[in-house]
């Protein structure tokens, strides 16, 4: 039950007075109020010196947010961007777009109007408050992203003879069997030293209710287990209204399917519902940010040198079309260039900063969009959004959350590969990737998958010309050795981006990093 608001605030005030802020924080956490995000609202950059200037490198979300806030605070701001578009990894591919990857392979995207592939970010957790704040401020319309679908499939080469099963069936059977086994352990007195008799009773009651166990504490084929896993014949009306239970799977197959990994995936804080997506493609966010700073951006600018001295920062760049080399100067610099690229740009930042930049490798991932002539996953399999998981290289098939129930085409996410699978897919030509995605995705929809396929597009992140990878890959050692150095203001330069955050690979990390970076740079500017 919800505690009345005024009462709760009075209580928190009292706790704060008695126990100080730490006690208050713990109390708030317990009551479910804190620890969702580090976002504290737009930055306070008041008092900027008239005429002070900042050069921003990179028109991704981190760079554009820095430019927007600094410009608003009174700084003279300019952005240099390598591409001919703003948004960075916030990006959607639509019909009519052309994309050329490193190595020269060019794809002409042929999706029907209104359909798209999000090669990079594609879902927004409800607690990524910075991103949600700026989406609202910049007029980005959001809609639900269907993250969790019990009726989608799970597939493993190691279970069920290689056939996919519904998530709800495998997950219910995993929980039911675990509940039965734990109940056996309790009843065989294996946990008597761990639990009081009263707690054992409470636990058995929980296992019975949670695991759908029968009166003998067994998980088996009956109408109770079917309530979680679904029915052979679902409840109906009239003569044949009575339901018929579905057959539970062998626990061996359930274990080897590793459905627990999918169950655990949905428990990740960042994967929990509610999730959102922009109407019309994730790229709408980059476009909305760009509208705020459009006049500040110089496109097609390849940065070749970053130099700072007592008087300011000088950045040398070449126009990617004409080759013309120019210099841009400012008092300060926010560098939001991905580390793998920055590492190859000549600069005179401190040696330890350059060592930090060089120390962080990038992950790889591959996404493939497949346009199907009709939405057979909805009409034939009753799957509306969500993901079917597989042990194959493609890792999953994800179903579109927009244009549901329409007769026309739909664009599936036919692969979201990482690790070894992503290297294999990335090494192929775009045509080979599509063929691989069709071959592997057919495991879920064998009748329709190839038959309904119309066209596709793929992005292998390690071949993206402006990032050479997907996201910064930190580990415990590199965090310890290099993170603070990487994020520290280096005289007149500060780095920003998902790589300068602990929310790596998320847009929220890029934005939080940016706000923190410009707040510190502003402080540095006032001290100058």
């Amino acid at each position: 039950m919800e505690t009345p608001r005024s009462t709760r605030r009075q209580l928190l005030t009292a706790i704060g007075m008695v126990g100080g802020t730490t006690a208050l924080y713990h109390a708030m956490t317990t009551m479910g109020h804190a620890a969702e995000t580090q976002y504290k609202g737009p930055p306070d950059l008041s008092g900027a010196r008239p005429g002070a200037s900042v050069l921003v490198l990179g028109a991704g979300l981190a760079g554009m947010l820095a430019a927007y806030e600094l410009n608003k605070a009174g700084y003279k701001v300019r952005i240099l961007e390598y591409q001919n578009r703003a948004g960075g990894r916030n990006w959607s591919l639509y019909g009519g777009d052309t994309y050329t990857e490193l190595g020269g392979a060019t794809q002409k995207v042929q999706f029907a109007p209104g359909h798209y592939l999000n090669p990079g970010p594609w879902r927004i957790p409800y607690h990524h408050r910075t991103l949600l704040h700026y989406c609202k401020a910049f007029g980005v319309q959001l809609e639900p992203f269907i993250q969790f679908n019990h009726n989608a499939f799970v597939h493993s080469a190691d279970a069920f003879g290689g056939r996919p099963v519904r998530y709800r069936e495998a997950a219910a059977d995993f929980e039911g069997n675990v509940a039965e086994l734990l109940a056996k352990a309790v009843n065989q007195k294996a946990l008597d030293s761990e639990l009081t008799p009263q707690d054992r009773e409470k636990l058995l009651e929980a296992l019975r209710g949670w695991g759908m166990l029968d009166k003998d504490m067994r998980y088996t084929t009956n109408l109770m287990s079917s309530e979680h896993r679904g029915y052979e014949r679902p409840p109906g009306g009239g003569v044949n209204g009575a339901p018929i239970p579905s057959q539970v799977f062998s626990f061996h197959d359930v274990l080897y399917s590793q459905v627990w990994k999918n169950m655990a995936f949905f428990m990740n804080h960042e994967m929990q519902t509610t999730m959102f997506q922009p109407v019309g493609g994730m790229g709408m966010i980059g476009k909305a940010f760009a509208r705020q700073v459009q006049q500040l951006i110089t496109f097609n600018a390849k940065v070749t040198r970053i130099n700072q001295d007592k008087s300011g920062v000088t950045v040398t760049y070449a126009d990617t079309g004409t080759g013309t080399v120019s210099e841009a100067k400012a008092d300060f610099c926010v560098c939001a260039i991905p580390l793998g690229v920055l590492n190859q740009i000549s600069n005179n930042m401190a040696p330890e900063k350059r060592a930090a930049v060089a120390a962080v490798p990038y992950s790889n991932s591959v996404k493939i969009g497949l346009q199907m002539a009709r939405r057979f996953w909805e009409t034939d399999d009753y799957i509306y959004g969500g993901h079917s998981f597989t042990s194959q290289d493609i890792a999953l098939v994800s179903y579109p959350n927009y244009h549901l129930f329409e007769d026309g085409p739909g664009v599936l996410l036919g692969a979201f590969a990482t690790g070894a699978g992503a290297y294999r897919l990335a090494g192929m030509t775009p045509e080979q990737r599509i063929a691989a995605a069709l071959a592997q995705g057919s495991v879920f929809h064998p009748e329709a998958y190839r038959k309904e396929f119309q066209n596709g597009a793929s992005v292998a992140w390690n071949r993206v010309p402006w990032t050479l990878g997907c996201c910064a890959r930190w580990n415990e050692e590199t965090r310890k050795e290099h993170y603070q150095t990487l994020v520290a203001v280096d005289d007149r330069i500060v780095l920003a981006g998902e790589h300068a955050s602990y929310v790596g690979c998320w847009m929220e990390g890029a934005l939080l990093s940016s706000l923190d970076a410009i707040t510190r740079l502003h402080k540095r500017a006032l001290e100058a």
Binding site: G162, Q344, P465, L468
Partner: protein, 132 residues
């Protein structure tokens, strides 16, 4: 072995790959990808993702170096070190590849793509460079 697990997924049927790439069983039953064994298999399944099928790399905002006709490959410790430690955006590949696979692919690259450094690299050479 944990590092091998990552390859325990499925192969792509159409890929113009060697015969070992055929899945066990027939029809549409998905099989498993055998781990890449030969140097060529490792190159195709891992290195080619960035260095390209012709080993010429690529260039955009930054550059993925060419392995083709690369004089730095004369010293085998150089490519072995790259695979073990990574550099810049390139991660260490020790979570995907064991010493035998690394030896195989270094030998392969040093004798293909316009490189002709005939002395093979052994598993022992790789192990000698791995951190204890």
């Amino acid at each position: 072995m944990a590092r091998k697990r990552a390859f325990g997924t499925l192969i792509v049927l159409f890929l113009a790959a060697p015969a070992w790439a055929q899945p066990p069983g027939g029809g549409d039953t998905p099989g498993r990808t055998p781990p890449p064994v030969t140097g060529e298999q490792v190159y195709v399944q891992v290195c080619q993702a960035c260095h390209m099928a012709d080993a010429k790399g690529g260039s955009g905002a930054a550059t993925i170096p060419a392995l083709a006709k690369n004089p730095k490959l004369a010293e085998p410790g150089y490519p072995i070190g790259m695979i073990l430690q990574g550099r810049g955006a390139m991660p260490p590949l020790t979570d995907l590849l064991g010493p035998a696979q690394i030896a195989g692919v270094v030998t392969y690259v040093r004798t293909h793509f316009g490189n002709s450094y005939r002395q093979p690299v052994s598993e022992a050479d790789v192990k000698a460079m791995m951190a204890p």
